[in-house]
């Protein structure tokens, strides 16, 4: 990291790390999940975009979620920030179910920030940075209470000059705009930030800057991240734990190093084998795992069965998500279940 580690102003660092008005009053110090998904399913018509998904987002930790386009990862993001409601199952904020009322949900949403993929689309070109970053504060009636100073502090925290207050997004390239997007996501001092492909629209030299910034902000503020990407290589860099999603369901999850150095599920292995090599004289893609063409799978079968190069008889029965050492895997080949039938 070449950026000098600026002494980051963490506005609410001393005393309570959050705005005090969280829905749960107690302040136990245990690393309890900020947001928890319990058997969440989201259907759009006949499609199960998210299928019986359970996961926990812990303070100071990054959960990386990988999967290909259409796997449901963006729906997970929308569920977590409360833009969608689950068809079944439950989302919890600090141990309590998400409120049903819009007003209640607004209170929860204040603790969950979001950084979007495309910084060119996500910022209103007519607004100044003061308005963009200050908007969440105004929307929650917090502007009068030192809002302007807060915006200045946030711009500084993401590495933008304080003089940027009255500039507009068009003044910045992709990296600068993504910094603005991050400042806005942090405006209400959230406990959790959902990052939906935050670097995939950026230049390579800028991706590293933004990832370093996210890591630094997390270290200082103890943020939880849900980091969503189709790029396993990026996810690997930022995550404590990785969840691999296919057809809205978890195929494999566990500690980052375990998943990326010893993948067990055939889908994880295929994703990893598609990562390009690092030297022109040691090419990797020739030995990549080739997936079969996607076809509809019968109900009750493993959702990955049609594409799996190692599909066998047992796969007509859906494998349960089982613990194998320090990870969870849903595959008969790994867990041994169903193979004897």
């Amino acid at each position: 990291m070449t950026r000098p580690a600026t002494a980051l102003p963490a506005p609410h660092a001393e005393g309570s790390p959050r705005f005090a008005a969280g829905p749960s009053g107690d302040a136990t110090a245990s690393p309890r999940a900020i947001v928890k998904l319990v058997k969440v399913t989201k259907r759009f018509g006949a499609t199960r975009a998210v299928d019986d998904l359970s996961l926990s987002l812990l303070p100071g930790r990054t959960l990386g979620m990988v999967g290909e386009s259409g796997c449901g990862k963006s729906t997970v993001a929308r569920l977590v920030v409360g833009l969608e409601r689950p068809t079944s199952g439950e989302l919890q904020y600090e141990g309590r179910p998400y409120p049903r009322s819009d007003r209640g949900m607004r209170r929860v949403r204040r603790h969950i920030g979001m950084v979007f993929q495309d910084p060119y689309e996500a910022l209103d070109p007519r607004c100044t940075l003061r308005q963009i970053v200050g908007e969440p504060l105004m929307a929650h009636g917090l502007w009068r209470d030192g809002g302007l100073e807060r915006v200045r502090t946030l711009l500084d925290a993401v590495g933008l000059p304080k003089a940027a207050l009255d500039s507009r997004p068009s003044h910045y390239s992709g990296g600068g705009r993504q910094r603005v997007g991050i400042a806005r996501a942090l405006a209400l001092d959230p406990a959790l930030v959902v990052c939906d492909e935050p670097t995939s629209a950026l230049d390579v030299s800028i991706q590293a800057q933004i990832i370093n910034l996210l890591l630094q902000l997390q270290a200082v503020r103890g943020l939880a991240y849900l980091f969503i990407s189709h790029d396993l290589d990026v996810v690997r860099r930022v995550s404590d734990e990785v969840v691999v999603i296919y057809a809205g369901a978890i195929m494999e999850s566990g500690p980052t190093t375990a998943i990326t150095t010893e993948p067990k599920h055939p889908y994880t292995r295929a994703l990893l084998s598609g990562v390009t090599g690092t030297m022109p004289d040691q090419r990797k893609l020739g030995s990549r795992i080739r997936l079969n063409e996607e076809r509809p799978v019968p109900t009750g079968a493993c959702p990955f069965a049609s594409r799996c190069p190692e599909v066998h008889r047992a796969c007509v029965k859906r494998p349960p998500l089982l613990a194998v050492g320090d990870r969870l895997v849903a595959c008969h080949l790994v867990t041994g279940g169903g193979a004897g039938t």
Binding site: M1, T2, R3, T62, E68, S69, S173, G174, G175, G176, D203, V204, S205, I206, A208, Q209, I211, N212, L215, Q216, H230, D231, L232, D233, R236, R237, V238, S239, D240, T256, T257, A270, L271, S273, G274, V275, T276, G277, T278, M279, P280, D281, Q282, R283, K284, L285, G286, R288, R290, L291, E293
Partner: protein, 327 residues
């Protein structure tokens, strides 16, 4: 597919002193690139580096606002930049073909895919409807589309991103061009699909002996497919050589920063900050002198004022940097 240019498959490309401007803005300045017949060049740069302008100029697809103000681009003995009228029309597809980044924007949304591929054969080989379609179907099979007969009857929106990109590749390769220019065609695709498309283009390129220029910002893609690499920054070529040489011993500070950012990201343990290049690439104005000097950790006096000469530092390895000046 016996066309006039068929025997020309895989011609050498020699770009010399190419400059492209949009109004007064110098998008590409004095770029010199050479690429042997049937070889693969990875043309690397960030947004605004001029890589796409260079590719579009060579493909003769620059938008009206852009113009070539100097230079030549010899493909074999033909200067692509001076072709006009019928000669230019014939050159498209036969001498040079272009694969865009976004296939869904390039395909006609209201025409079936088969017809769009067949159009090449109808117009250029004068085939009838049926014959042209049959050719199109066999070409779709060649680019790895299963059930090509069925796919040919589909509209672009009915296909996945990977399938659409395969259809674009089919159109580009239909006339077996001597030079194929691919403008980041895998950037928008999933990892597994990217791997398949890279493999496909590499196989077909080797099969046809096509000379290939692949534009990308991803060093991983270069590592996988390129024989040679050319790195652009601020409209200028800063380093050019065999991919293995440049990956092992990058000389220009920009190239080495890009490569160490790339490899450190790959090798570092999770959650370790990794090597980043400070600042952003130039957007509206190109800095005087070496365009990289405001971001360069090794910049010294001449860098801000004088554009460095291009020097050969090893066989086939050329660098534009004041640090390479003989003491």
């Amino acid at each position: 597919m016996a066309s006039a240019a068929a025997e020309g498959t895989g011609r050498p490309l020699q770009i010399e002193g190419l400059s492209v401007r949009y109004g007064e803005f110098p998008a590409v300045t004095a770029a010199t690139v050479s690429l042997g017949a049937g070889r693969v060049l990875g043309l690397v740069g960030e947004s605004g580096s001029g890589k796409s302008s260079l590719a579009l100029a060579v493909s003769r697809l620059l938008p009206p606002a852009g113009r070539v103000v100097a230079g030549t681009a010899l493909l074999g003995s033909v200067d692509l930049l001076t072709l006009e009228g019928e000669a230019l029309r014939r050159a498209r597809g036969e001498l040079v073909a272009y694969i865009p980044q976004d296939a869904s924007a390039a395909l006609n949304p209201v025409q079936r895919v088969g017809r769009q591929v067949a159009e090449v054969f109808r117009v250029r080989h004068g085939l009838g409807k049926e014959q042209a379609l049959a050719q199109a179907v066999s070409l779709l099979a060649k680019v790895g589309i299963r059930n090509p007969g069925v796919t040919a009857r589909r509209y672009p929106h009915e296909l996945s991103g990977g399938m659409r990109q395969r259809a674009m590749i089919a159109i580009a390769l239909a006339l077996r061009p001597a030079l194929l220019v691919a403008d980041e065609p895998t950037t928008a695709l999933d990892v597994t699909v990217q791997a398949e498309i890279l493999g496909l283009v590499k196989d077909l390129q080797a099969d046809y002996g096509t000379t290939l220029m692949w534009i990308t910002h991803d060093m991983g893609v270069v590592a996988e497919i390129a024989d040679d690499i050319a790195v652009m920054y601020g409209g200028r070529l800063v380093e050019h050589g065999a991919a293995v040489d440049v990956f092992k011993e990058a000389v220009h500070p920009y190239t080495s920063a890009l490569l160490s950012s790339f490899t450190s990201g790959r090798l570092a343990a999770p959650k370790q900050p990794f090597v980043a290049i400070e600042g952003s690439p130039p957007v509206d104005t190109i800095p005087p002198g070496c365009p990289f000097h405001p971001r360069c950790p090794r910049a010294f006096e001449p860098c801000a004022t004088a554009v460095p000469d291009t020097r050969t530092v090893a066989t086939g390895h050329r660098v534009s940097c004041h640090l390479t000046e003989p003491a």
